[in-house]
Protein backbone atom coordinates (compact mmCIF):
# COMPACT_ATOMS: atom_id res chain seq x y z
CA UNK A 1 0.00 0.00 0.00
CA UNK A 2 2.90 2.41 0.56
CA UNK A 3 3.05 3.04 -3.18
CA UNK A 4 -0.14 5.08 -2.83
CA UNK A 5 1.59 7.63 -0.62
CA UNK A 6 4.70 7.91 -2.77
CA UNK A 7 5.30 11.13 -4.66
CA UNK A 8 5.34 9.64 -8.16
CA UNK A 9 2.03 7.92 -7.49
CA UNK A 10 0.42 11.11 -6.24
CA UNK A 11 1.61 12.96 -9.33
CA UNK A 12 0.12 10.16 -11.40
CA UNK A 13 -3.15 10.50 -9.51
CA UNK A 14 -3.33 14.27 -10.08
CA UNK A 15 -2.57 13.85 -13.79
CA UNK A 16 -5.11 11.03 -14.00
CA UNK A 17 -7.85 12.99 -12.26
CA UNK A 18 -7.35 15.93 -14.64
CA UNK A 19 -7.35 13.80 -17.78
CA UNK A 20 -10.34 11.91 -16.37
CA UNK A 21 -12.29 15.17 -16.73
CA UNK A 22 -11.08 16.38 -20.11
CA UNK A 23 -10.83 13.22 -22.20
CA UNK A 24 -14.40 12.00 -21.49
CA UNK A 25 -15.79 15.52 -22.04
CA UNK A 26 -14.19 15.95 -25.46
CA UNK A 27 -15.01 12.33 -26.23
CA UNK A 28 -18.70 12.95 -25.56
CA UNK A 29 -18.83 15.66 -28.22
CA UNK A 30 -16.96 13.44 -30.69
CA UNK A 31 -19.19 10.41 -30.05
CA UNK A 32 -22.41 12.44 -30.30
CA UNK A 33 -21.25 13.73 -33.67
CA UNK A 34 -20.36 10.20 -34.78
CA UNK A 35 -16.66 10.94 -34.88
CA UNK A 36 -15.57 8.28 -32.37
CA UNK A 37 -12.65 7.11 -34.48
CA UNK A 38 -11.08 10.56 -34.69
CA UNK A 39 -9.55 10.14 -31.23
CA UNK A 40 -7.85 6.93 -32.25
CA UNK A 41 -6.53 8.46 -35.46
CA UNK A 42 -5.19 11.61 -33.83
CA UNK A 43 -3.47 9.68 -31.07
CA UNK A 44 -1.66 7.48 -33.58
CA UNK A 45 -0.39 10.57 -35.37
CA UNK A 46 0.48 12.26 -32.09
CA UNK A 47 2.87 9.46 -31.08
CA UNK A 48 4.82 10.18 -34.26
CA UNK A 49 5.08 13.77 -33.06
CA UNK A 50 6.10 12.70 -29.57
CA UNK A 51 8.85 10.51 -31.03
CA UNK A 52 10.08 13.33 -33.26
CA UNK A 53 10.09 15.67 -30.27
CA UNK A 54 12.39 13.26 -28.42
CA UNK A 55 14.74 12.94 -31.38
CA UNK A 56 15.10 16.66 -32.09
CA UNK A 57 14.96 17.70 -28.43
CA UNK A 58 11.58 19.48 -28.34
CA UNK A 59 9.08 18.98 -25.47
CA UNK A 60 7.42 15.75 -26.72
CA UNK A 61 3.86 16.68 -25.71
CA UNK A 62 4.15 19.94 -27.70
CA UNK A 63 5.48 18.11 -30.76
CA UNK A 64 2.66 15.57 -30.42
CA UNK A 65 0.15 18.40 -30.24
CA UNK A 66 1.44 20.00 -33.45
CA UNK A 67 1.17 16.66 -35.23
CA UNK A 68 -2.32 16.01 -33.90
CA UNK A 69 -3.57 19.44 -34.99
CA UNK A 70 -2.00 19.03 -38.43
CA UNK A 71 -3.67 15.61 -38.68
CA UNK A 72 -7.09 16.99 -37.76
CA UNK A 73 -6.86 19.51 -40.61
CA UNK A 74 -5.62 16.83 -43.00
CA UNK A 75 -8.63 14.69 -42.04
CA UNK A 76 -11.00 17.56 -42.87
CA UNK A 77 -9.33 18.07 -46.28
CA UNK A 78 -9.48 14.37 -47.10
CA UNK A 79 -13.10 14.15 -45.97
CA UNK A 80 -13.96 16.72 -48.61
CA UNK A 81 -12.11 14.75 -51.28
CA UNK A 82 -14.01 11.55 -50.39
CA UNK A 83 -17.33 13.11 -49.40
CA UNK A 84 -19.40 9.95 -49.31
CA UNK A 85 -16.64 7.74 -47.92
CA UNK A 86 -15.49 10.17 -45.24
CA UNK A 87 -14.25 7.43 -42.88
CA UNK A 88 -11.61 6.57 -45.47
CA UNK A 89 -9.77 9.74 -44.46
CA UNK A 90 -9.39 8.37 -40.91
CA UNK A 91 -7.93 5.08 -42.14
CA UNK A 92 -5.41 6.89 -44.35
CA UNK A 93 -4.24 9.38 -41.73
CA UNK A 94 -4.07 6.71 -39.01
CA UNK A 95 -1.85 4.41 -41.05
CA UNK A 96 0.27 7.40 -42.08
CA UNK A 97 0.76 8.26 -38.41
CA UNK A 98 1.73 4.72 -37.41
CA UNK A 99 4.11 4.42 -40.37
CA UNK A 100 5.83 7.67 -39.45
CA UNK A 101 5.98 6.71 -35.78
CA UNK A 102 7.56 3.34 -36.60
CA UNK A 103 10.28 5.08 -38.64
CA UNK A 104 11.00 7.56 -35.87
CA UNK A 105 10.96 4.90 -33.16
CA UNK A 106 13.57 2.92 -35.10
CA UNK A 107 15.72 6.02 -35.50
CA UNK A 108 15.60 6.80 -31.81
CA UNK A 109 15.47 3.29 -30.38
CA UNK A 110 18.76 3.66 -28.50
CA UNK A 111 17.32 6.23 -26.13
CA UNK A 112 13.52 5.89 -26.33
CA UNK A 113 11.20 3.53 -24.53
CA UNK A 114 8.65 2.73 -27.22
CA UNK A 115 6.34 0.95 -24.78
CA UNK A 116 5.88 4.09 -22.74
CA UNK A 117 4.30 5.88 -25.73
CA UNK A 118 2.15 3.00 -26.76
CA UNK A 119 0.89 2.05 -23.30
CA UNK A 120 1.57 5.20 -21.26
CA UNK A 121 3.99 5.95 -18.47
CA UNK A 122 1.91 7.73 -15.88
CA UNK A 123 4.47 7.11 -13.12
CA UNK A 124 7.01 9.26 -14.96
CA UNK A 125 4.87 12.44 -15.00
CA UNK A 126 7.01 15.42 -13.98
CA UNK A 127 5.84 18.83 -12.82
CA UNK A 128 6.06 20.31 -16.36
CA UNK A 129 3.67 17.58 -17.51
CA UNK A 130 1.30 18.32 -14.63
CA UNK A 131 1.26 22.05 -15.43
CA UNK A 132 0.60 21.27 -19.09
CA UNK A 133 -2.24 18.90 -18.21
CA UNK A 134 -3.59 21.48 -15.75
CA UNK A 135 -3.54 24.16 -18.44
CA UNK A 136 -5.33 21.93 -20.94
CA UNK A 137 -7.96 21.01 -18.32
CA UNK A 138 -8.58 24.68 -17.58
CA UNK A 139 -9.05 25.50 -21.27
CA UNK A 140 -11.41 22.58 -21.84
CA UNK A 141 -13.48 23.39 -18.75
CA UNK A 142 -13.73 27.06 -19.74
CA UNK A 143 -14.84 26.25 -23.27
CA UNK A 144 -17.33 23.60 -22.24
CA UNK A 145 -18.60 25.75 -19.35
CA UNK A 146 -19.14 28.85 -21.47
CA UNK A 147 -20.21 27.13 -24.66
CA UNK A 148 -22.18 24.12 -23.45
CA UNK A 149 -25.40 25.22 -25.11
CA UNK A 150 -23.75 26.01 -28.43
CA UNK A 151 -21.90 22.68 -28.33
CA UNK A 152 -25.21 20.97 -27.65
CA UNK A 153 -26.84 22.57 -30.68
CA UNK A 154 -23.84 21.70 -32.83
CA UNK A 155 -23.82 18.07 -31.70
CA UNK A 156 -27.58 17.63 -31.91
CA UNK A 157 -28.21 19.30 -35.24
CA UNK A 158 -25.34 20.88 -37.15
CA UNK A 159 -27.67 22.27 -39.82
CA UNK A 160 -29.89 24.00 -37.29
CA UNK A 161 -26.73 25.42 -35.71
CA UNK A 162 -25.71 26.79 -39.08
CA UNK A 163 -29.17 28.25 -39.79
CA UNK A 164 -29.26 29.97 -36.41
CA UNK A 165 -26.07 31.79 -37.37
CA UNK A 166 -23.58 29.85 -35.27
CA UNK A 167 -20.12 29.93 -36.89
CA UNK A 168 -20.05 26.16 -37.37
CA UNK A 169 -16.62 26.03 -39.03
CA UNK A 170 -14.97 27.91 -36.18
CA UNK A 171 -16.57 25.52 -33.69
CA UNK A 172 -15.40 22.51 -35.68
CA UNK A 173 -11.83 23.80 -35.70
CA UNK A 174 -12.09 24.53 -31.98
CA UNK A 175 -13.28 21.00 -31.21
CA UNK A 176 -10.47 19.53 -33.34
CA UNK A 177 -7.81 21.60 -31.62
CA UNK A 178 -9.15 20.84 -28.13
CA UNK A 179 -9.30 17.13 -28.96
CA UNK A 180 -5.72 17.25 -30.23
CA UNK A 181 -4.67 19.02 -27.01
CA UNK A 182 -6.35 16.44 -24.80
CA UNK A 183 -4.96 13.51 -26.75
CA UNK A 184 -1.41 14.86 -26.70
CA UNK A 185 -1.41 15.15 -22.93
CA UNK A 186 -3.28 11.89 -22.43
CA UNK A 187 -0.70 9.85 -24.32
CA UNK A 188 1.71 9.96 -21.42
CA UNK A 189 -1.02 8.80 -19.06
CA UNK A 190 -2.74 5.90 -20.83
CA UNK A 191 -0.62 5.57 -23.98
CA UNK A 192 -1.50 6.21 -27.60
CA UNK A 193 -3.15 2.85 -28.08
CA UNK A 194 -5.57 3.40 -25.20
CA UNK A 195 -6.36 7.13 -25.42
CA UNK A 196 -9.38 6.43 -27.55
CA UNK A 197 -10.91 4.29 -24.77
CA UNK A 198 -10.80 7.22 -22.35
CA UNK A 199 -12.53 9.40 -24.94
CA UNK A 200 -15.24 7.01 -26.08
CA UNK A 201 -16.14 4.51 -23.34
CA UNK A 202 -17.42 7.08 -20.82
CA UNK A 203 -19.58 8.51 -23.62
CA UNK A 204 -20.79 4.99 -24.47
CA UNK A 205 -21.76 4.54 -20.81
CA UNK A 206 -23.56 7.89 -20.68
CA UNK A 207 -25.68 6.95 -23.70
CA UNK A 208 -27.05 4.07 -21.61
CA UNK A 209 -27.90 6.01 -18.48
CA UNK A 210 -28.36 9.68 -19.33
CA UNK A 211 -31.72 11.02 -20.38
CA UNK A 212 -30.61 14.60 -20.99
CA UNK A 213 -27.54 16.31 -22.34
CA UNK A 214 -26.83 17.79 -18.92
CA UNK A 215 -26.92 14.33 -17.36
CA UNK A 216 -24.65 12.92 -20.04
CA UNK A 217 -22.02 15.60 -19.34
CA UNK A 218 -22.10 14.73 -15.64
CA UNK A 219 -22.12 11.00 -16.35
CA UNK A 220 -18.99 11.02 -18.55
CA UNK A 221 -16.98 12.92 -15.98
CA UNK A 222 -18.10 10.73 -13.05
CA UNK A 223 -17.44 7.52 -14.97
CA UNK A 224 -14.08 8.80 -16.24
CA UNK A 225 -13.02 9.66 -12.68
CA UNK A 226 -14.25 6.37 -11.23
CA UNK A 227 -12.21 4.46 -13.78
CA UNK A 228 -9.06 6.59 -13.49
CA UNK A 229 -8.91 6.73 -9.70
CA UNK A 230 -10.07 3.14 -9.22
CA UNK A 231 -7.80 1.87 -11.98
CA UNK A 232 -4.71 3.65 -10.64
CA UNK A 233 -5.35 2.34 -7.11
CA UNK A 234 -5.79 -1.23 -8.31
CA UNK A 235 -2.74 -0.96 -10.57
CA UNK A 236 -0.67 0.56 -7.75
CA UNK A 237 -1.59 -2.03 -5.16
CA UNK A 238 -1.31 -5.11 -7.41
CA UNK A 239 1.53 -3.74 -9.52
CA UNK A 240 -0.36 -3.85 -12.82
CA UNK A 241 0.02 -1.68 -15.93
CA UNK A 242 -1.88 1.53 -14.97
CA UNK A 243 -3.16 2.51 -18.47
CA UNK A 244 -4.47 -0.95 -19.19
CA UNK A 245 -6.10 -1.26 -15.76
CA UNK A 246 -7.95 2.05 -16.20
CA UNK A 247 -9.26 1.01 -19.60
CA UNK A 248 -10.31 -2.47 -18.45
CA UNK A 249 -12.13 -0.89 -15.53
CA UNK A 250 -13.95 1.40 -17.97
CA UNK A 251 -15.00 -1.62 -19.99
CA UNK A 252 -16.15 -3.38 -16.81
CA UNK A 253 -18.31 -0.35 -15.93
CA UNK A 254 -19.76 -0.37 -19.44
CA UNK A 255 -20.60 -4.07 -19.18
CA UNK A 256 -22.34 -3.62 -15.84
CA UNK A 257 -24.36 -0.72 -17.24
CA UNK A 258 -25.31 -2.76 -20.30
CA UNK A 259 -26.44 -5.64 -18.10
CA UNK A 260 -28.63 -3.44 -15.92
CA UNK A 261 -29.64 -0.89 -18.51
CA UNK A 262 -33.35 -1.53 -18.26
CA UNK A 263 -33.52 -0.35 -14.69
CA UNK A 264 -30.86 2.32 -14.99
CA UNK A 265 -32.01 5.16 -17.21
CA UNK A 266 -32.18 8.14 -14.91
CA UNK A 267 -35.74 9.09 -14.26
CA UNK A 268 -37.16 6.80 -16.97
Amino acid sequence: MEIVTSEFFQRALIGGVLIGITAPLMGLFLVLRRLSMIGDTLSHVAIAGVALGYIIGVYPIAAGLVFAIAASFAIEKLRKAYKTYAELSLAIIMSGGIALASLLFTMGRSFMDVNSYLFGSIYTLDSTDLYTIGGVTLVVLLVVGLQAKELFLLSFDEEAASVSGLPVRIYNVMISVLTALVISVAIKIVGALLVSALLTIPAACSLIIARSFKQSIMAVVIIGELAVIGGLMIAGVWNLAPGGTVVLLLIAILLVLLLFRRSLRLGG
Partner: protein, 274 residues
Protein backbone atom coordinates in the same frame (compact mmCIF):
# COMPACT_ATOMS: atom_id res chain seq x y z
CA UNK B 1 -45.81 36.41 -55.27
CA UNK B 2 -44.21 37.20 -58.53
CA UNK B 3 -42.53 34.50 -60.40
CA UNK B 4 -40.72 34.63 -63.61
CA UNK B 5 -38.36 32.46 -65.52
CA UNK B 6 -35.69 34.26 -67.43
CA UNK B 7 -36.53 37.78 -66.41
CA UNK B 8 -35.07 39.83 -63.64
CA UNK B 9 -37.71 40.72 -61.12
CA UNK B 10 -36.20 43.22 -58.77
CA UNK B 11 -36.86 43.79 -55.11
CA UNK B 12 -38.87 46.94 -55.87
CA UNK B 13 -41.60 44.96 -57.59
CA UNK B 14 -42.20 42.95 -54.46
CA UNK B 15 -43.51 45.04 -51.59
CA UNK B 16 -42.91 43.87 -48.04
CA UNK B 17 -40.57 41.23 -49.36
CA UNK B 18 -39.74 38.43 -46.94
CA UNK B 19 -37.92 36.12 -49.33
CA UNK B 20 -36.58 37.26 -52.69
CA UNK B 21 -35.15 34.76 -55.15
CA UNK B 22 -33.64 36.32 -58.27
CA UNK B 23 -32.48 34.25 -61.24
CA UNK B 24 -31.19 31.45 -59.02
CA UNK B 25 -29.53 28.42 -60.59
CA UNK B 26 -27.96 25.50 -58.84
CA UNK B 27 -25.72 22.74 -60.18
CA UNK B 28 -24.35 19.78 -58.27
CA UNK B 29 -21.33 18.01 -59.71
CA UNK B 30 -21.84 19.70 -63.09
CA UNK B 31 -25.47 18.60 -63.20
CA UNK B 32 -28.07 21.33 -63.24
CA UNK B 33 -30.62 20.93 -60.43
CA UNK B 34 -32.52 24.14 -61.22
CA UNK B 35 -31.97 27.06 -63.49
CA UNK B 36 -33.05 30.66 -63.38
CA UNK B 37 -35.72 30.46 -60.70
CA UNK B 38 -37.15 33.75 -59.50
CA UNK B 39 -39.88 34.43 -57.03
CA UNK B 40 -40.81 36.60 -54.13
CA UNK B 41 -42.60 35.82 -50.89
CA UNK B 42 -44.44 38.73 -49.32
CA UNK B 43 -45.31 39.27 -45.72
CA UNK B 44 -48.01 36.82 -44.51
CA UNK B 45 -48.04 34.83 -47.75
CA UNK B 46 -48.39 31.07 -47.47
CA UNK B 47 -46.40 29.38 -50.23
CA UNK B 48 -46.67 25.65 -50.87
CA UNK B 49 -43.84 24.28 -52.95
CA UNK B 50 -44.60 21.09 -54.85
CA UNK B 51 -42.43 19.17 -57.24
CA UNK B 52 -41.37 15.70 -58.27
CA UNK B 53 -38.37 14.03 -56.67
CA UNK B 54 -35.23 15.81 -57.80
CA UNK B 55 -37.09 18.97 -58.75
CA UNK B 56 -34.93 20.86 -56.28
CA UNK B 57 -37.47 21.69 -53.55
CA UNK B 58 -35.20 20.92 -50.64
CA UNK B 59 -32.22 22.43 -52.48
CA UNK B 60 -34.16 25.66 -52.86
CA UNK B 61 -35.07 25.75 -49.15
CA UNK B 62 -31.49 24.99 -48.18
CA UNK B 63 -30.28 27.87 -50.37
CA UNK B 64 -32.83 30.19 -48.78
CA UNK B 65 -31.56 29.40 -45.27
CA UNK B 66 -27.94 29.74 -46.39
CA UNK B 67 -26.93 26.06 -46.13
CA UNK B 68 -26.15 25.95 -49.86
CA UNK B 69 -24.85 28.68 -52.15
CA UNK B 70 -26.60 29.23 -55.48
CA UNK B 71 -24.37 28.69 -58.51
CA UNK B 72 -25.91 31.83 -59.99
CA UNK B 73 -28.38 34.48 -58.90
CA UNK B 74 -29.22 36.07 -55.58
CA UNK B 75 -31.40 35.27 -52.59
CA UNK B 76 -32.58 37.92 -50.14
CA UNK B 77 -34.13 37.54 -46.70
CA UNK B 78 -36.10 40.58 -45.52
CA UNK B 79 -34.33 42.55 -48.26
CA UNK B 80 -30.80 41.53 -47.19
CA UNK B 81 -28.64 39.21 -49.33
CA UNK B 82 -28.59 35.86 -47.54
CA UNK B 83 -24.79 35.82 -47.22
CA UNK B 84 -24.98 39.07 -45.24
CA UNK B 85 -28.15 38.23 -43.32
CA UNK B 86 -27.71 38.25 -39.55
CA UNK B 87 -31.21 38.20 -38.01
CA UNK B 88 -31.52 34.42 -38.09
CA UNK B 89 -33.88 34.44 -35.12
CA UNK B 90 -36.54 35.95 -37.41
CA UNK B 91 -36.58 32.65 -39.27
CA UNK B 92 -37.87 29.32 -38.02
CA UNK B 93 -36.64 26.35 -40.03
CA UNK B 94 -38.06 22.85 -39.63
CA UNK B 95 -35.87 20.49 -41.67
CA UNK B 96 -36.85 16.99 -42.81
CA UNK B 97 -36.68 14.96 -39.66
CA UNK B 98 -34.77 11.95 -40.96
CA UNK B 99 -31.52 13.09 -39.39
CA UNK B 100 -32.64 12.62 -35.78
CA UNK B 101 -30.61 10.02 -33.90
CA UNK B 102 -33.06 8.30 -31.52
CA UNK B 103 -30.31 7.53 -29.00
CA UNK B 104 -29.17 11.12 -28.64
CA UNK B 105 -29.26 12.08 -24.95
CA UNK B 106 -31.43 15.19 -25.06
CA UNK B 107 -34.75 16.03 -23.46
CA UNK B 108 -37.58 17.66 -25.36
CA UNK B 109 -37.01 20.84 -23.35
CA UNK B 110 -33.30 20.90 -24.24
CA UNK B 111 -34.10 20.53 -27.93
CA UNK B 112 -36.70 23.31 -27.86
CA UNK B 113 -34.37 25.61 -25.89
CA UNK B 114 -31.65 25.06 -28.50
CA UNK B 115 -33.70 27.23 -30.87
CA UNK B 116 -32.42 30.14 -28.79
CA UNK B 117 -28.72 29.35 -29.04
CA UNK B 118 -27.93 31.29 -32.18
CA UNK B 119 -25.34 33.90 -33.00
CA UNK B 120 -27.11 36.63 -31.05
CA UNK B 121 -26.89 34.81 -27.75
CA UNK B 122 -23.28 33.63 -27.91
CA UNK B 123 -21.78 33.64 -24.43
CA UNK B 124 -25.08 34.71 -22.91
CA UNK B 125 -26.31 32.41 -20.14
CA UNK B 126 -29.82 31.00 -20.15
CA UNK B 127 -32.21 33.42 -18.44
CA UNK B 128 -35.60 33.07 -16.79
CA UNK B 129 -37.06 34.72 -19.88
CA UNK B 130 -35.56 31.98 -22.06
CA UNK B 131 -37.15 29.33 -19.83
CA UNK B 132 -40.51 31.08 -20.19
CA UNK B 133 -40.16 31.20 -23.97
CA UNK B 134 -39.45 27.47 -24.00
CA UNK B 135 -42.46 26.78 -21.80
CA UNK B 136 -44.62 28.89 -24.12
CA UNK B 137 -43.40 27.10 -27.25
CA UNK B 138 -43.95 23.70 -25.59
CA UNK B 139 -47.40 24.78 -24.48
CA UNK B 140 -48.24 26.11 -27.95
CA UNK B 141 -47.45 22.72 -29.47
CA UNK B 142 -49.26 20.84 -26.70
CA UNK B 143 -46.15 18.95 -25.62
CA UNK B 144 -45.46 20.51 -22.23
CA UNK B 145 -46.14 17.14 -20.57
CA UNK B 146 -43.36 15.59 -22.63
CA UNK B 147 -40.79 18.27 -21.76
CA UNK B 148 -38.53 16.02 -19.68
CA UNK B 149 -38.78 12.96 -21.95
CA UNK B 150 -35.84 11.90 -24.07
CA UNK B 151 -36.49 13.01 -27.66
CA UNK B 152 -35.96 9.49 -29.04
CA UNK B 153 -38.85 8.12 -26.94
CA UNK B 154 -41.42 10.25 -28.76
CA UNK B 155 -43.54 9.23 -31.75
CA UNK B 156 -42.86 10.76 -35.17
CA UNK B 157 -45.74 13.20 -34.83
CA UNK B 158 -44.64 14.30 -31.36
CA UNK B 159 -41.06 14.78 -32.58
CA UNK B 160 -42.34 16.97 -35.39
CA UNK B 161 -44.11 19.14 -32.82
CA UNK B 162 -40.85 19.40 -30.89
CA UNK B 163 -39.04 20.68 -33.98
CA UNK B 164 -41.87 23.08 -34.70
CA UNK B 165 -41.67 24.32 -31.10
CA UNK B 166 -37.92 24.82 -31.53
CA UNK B 167 -38.58 26.86 -34.67
CA UNK B 168 -41.29 28.91 -32.91
CA UNK B 169 -39.37 29.75 -29.74
CA UNK B 170 -37.94 32.95 -31.25
CA UNK B 171 -41.38 34.02 -32.41
CA UNK B 172 -40.18 34.09 -36.03
CA UNK B 173 -41.72 36.14 -38.85
CA UNK B 174 -40.94 33.46 -41.44
CA UNK B 175 -41.48 29.74 -40.96
CA UNK B 176 -39.81 27.40 -43.44
CA UNK B 177 -41.01 23.78 -43.34
CA UNK B 178 -39.47 20.96 -45.35
CA UNK B 179 -41.88 18.01 -45.70
CA UNK B 180 -43.13 18.44 -42.15
CA UNK B 181 -45.48 15.44 -42.17
CA UNK B 182 -43.42 12.70 -43.80
CA UNK B 183 -43.75 9.45 -41.85
CA UNK B 184 -46.64 10.69 -39.72
CA UNK B 185 -50.08 9.03 -39.63
CA UNK B 186 -53.00 10.70 -41.37
CA UNK B 187 -54.76 11.88 -38.23
CA UNK B 188 -51.65 13.52 -36.80
CA UNK B 189 -51.00 15.13 -40.19
CA UNK B 190 -54.47 16.58 -40.12
CA UNK B 191 -54.02 18.22 -36.71
CA UNK B 192 -50.55 19.41 -37.70
CA UNK B 193 -52.02 21.24 -40.71
CA UNK B 194 -54.77 22.68 -38.53
CA UNK B 195 -52.11 24.23 -36.34
CA UNK B 196 -50.10 25.57 -39.28
CA UNK B 197 -53.20 27.02 -40.87
CA UNK B 198 -54.30 28.55 -37.59
CA UNK B 199 -50.90 30.19 -37.16
CA UNK B 200 -51.07 31.60 -40.67
CA UNK B 201 -54.54 33.00 -40.18
CA UNK B 202 -54.22 34.40 -36.71
CA UNK B 203 -50.59 35.32 -36.32
CA UNK B 204 -48.20 37.55 -38.13
CA UNK B 205 -46.25 34.80 -39.87
CA UNK B 206 -45.18 34.02 -43.39
CA UNK B 207 -44.95 30.40 -44.50
CA UNK B 208 -42.83 28.59 -47.05
CA UNK B 209 -43.55 24.89 -47.04
CA UNK B 210 -42.44 21.96 -49.15
CA UNK B 211 -44.98 19.16 -49.02
CA UNK B 212 -46.04 15.99 -50.77
CA UNK B 213 -49.54 16.31 -49.43
CA UNK B 214 -51.45 17.56 -52.48
CA UNK B 215 -54.81 17.33 -50.67
CA UNK B 216 -53.76 19.74 -47.97
CA UNK B 217 -51.98 22.07 -50.39
CA UNK B 218 -54.96 22.18 -52.79
CA UNK B 219 -57.48 22.56 -50.00
CA UNK B 220 -55.77 25.54 -48.43
CA UNK B 221 -53.82 27.08 -51.28
CA UNK B 222 -56.03 26.47 -54.32
CA UNK B 223 -56.48 23.81 -56.96
CA UNK B 224 -53.92 25.07 -59.44
CA UNK B 225 -50.39 26.30 -58.91
CA UNK B 226 -50.11 30.09 -59.04
CA UNK B 227 -46.93 29.69 -61.03
CA UNK B 228 -44.38 27.16 -62.21
CA UNK B 229 -40.70 27.19 -62.70
CA UNK B 230 -39.00 24.19 -64.23
CA UNK B 231 -40.29 21.21 -62.25
CA UNK B 232 -41.29 23.37 -59.28
CA UNK B 233 -44.93 24.32 -58.73
CA UNK B 234 -45.81 27.18 -56.44
CA UNK B 235 -49.20 27.18 -54.71
CA UNK B 236 -50.02 30.32 -52.85
CA UNK B 237 -52.45 31.97 -50.48
CA UNK B 238 -51.80 35.69 -50.20
CA UNK B 239 -51.97 37.66 -47.02
CA UNK B 240 -55.06 39.50 -48.26
CA UNK B 241 -56.93 36.19 -48.39
CA UNK B 242 -56.57 35.71 -44.67
CA UNK B 243 -58.42 37.50 -41.93
CA UNK B 244 -56.76 40.52 -40.49
CA UNK B 245 -56.94 39.46 -36.89
CA UNK B 246 -53.62 38.94 -35.25
CA UNK B 247 -53.58 37.31 -31.86
CA UNK B 248 -50.46 37.89 -29.91
CA UNK B 249 -50.09 34.91 -27.65
CA UNK B 250 -49.43 31.86 -29.77
CA UNK B 251 -49.54 29.42 -26.85
CA UNK B 252 -52.95 30.74 -25.80
CA UNK B 253 -54.50 30.74 -29.24
CA UNK B 254 -53.20 27.27 -30.16
CA UNK B 255 -54.45 25.86 -26.87
CA UNK B 256 -57.87 27.17 -27.82
CA UNK B 257 -57.62 25.40 -31.16
CA UNK B 258 -56.54 22.13 -29.54
CA UNK B 259 -59.37 22.25 -27.06
CA UNK B 260 -61.80 22.70 -29.93
CA UNK B 261 -60.23 19.79 -31.80
CA UNK B 262 -60.24 17.50 -28.78
CA UNK B 263 -63.80 18.29 -27.74
CA UNK B 264 -64.85 17.30 -31.26
CA UNK B 265 -66.50 20.64 -31.85
CA UNK B 266 -66.61 21.58 -35.45
CA UNK B 267 -63.45 23.27 -36.54
CA UNK B 268 -63.42 24.88 -39.93
CA UNK B 269 -61.85 22.23 -42.12
CA UNK B 270 -58.57 22.56 -43.88
CA UNK B 271 -60.39 22.99 -47.13
CA UNK B 272 -61.89 26.35 -46.35
CA UNK B 273 -60.40 28.33 -49.17
CA UNK B 274 -62.61 31.27 -49.85
Amino acid sequence: MLLSKGNNESAQSCHREVVGVDGVSFSYQHKSVMSDVSFCVKERDFIGLIGTNGAGKTTLLRMIVGLLKPTEGQIRLFGVPVEKFKDWDRIGYVPQKNSLNPQFPATVREVVMSGLYGRKRLFRPITKGDQMKAADALEAMGIIDLAEKRIGQLSGGQQQRVFLARALINNPSLLILDEPTVGIDAETQQSFFHMIKHMHQHHNMTFLMVSHDMDMIRAYLGQEPASKSGKLNFYIRHSHDTQDCVEHNLAHSLRGLREQLESGREVVGIGDRN
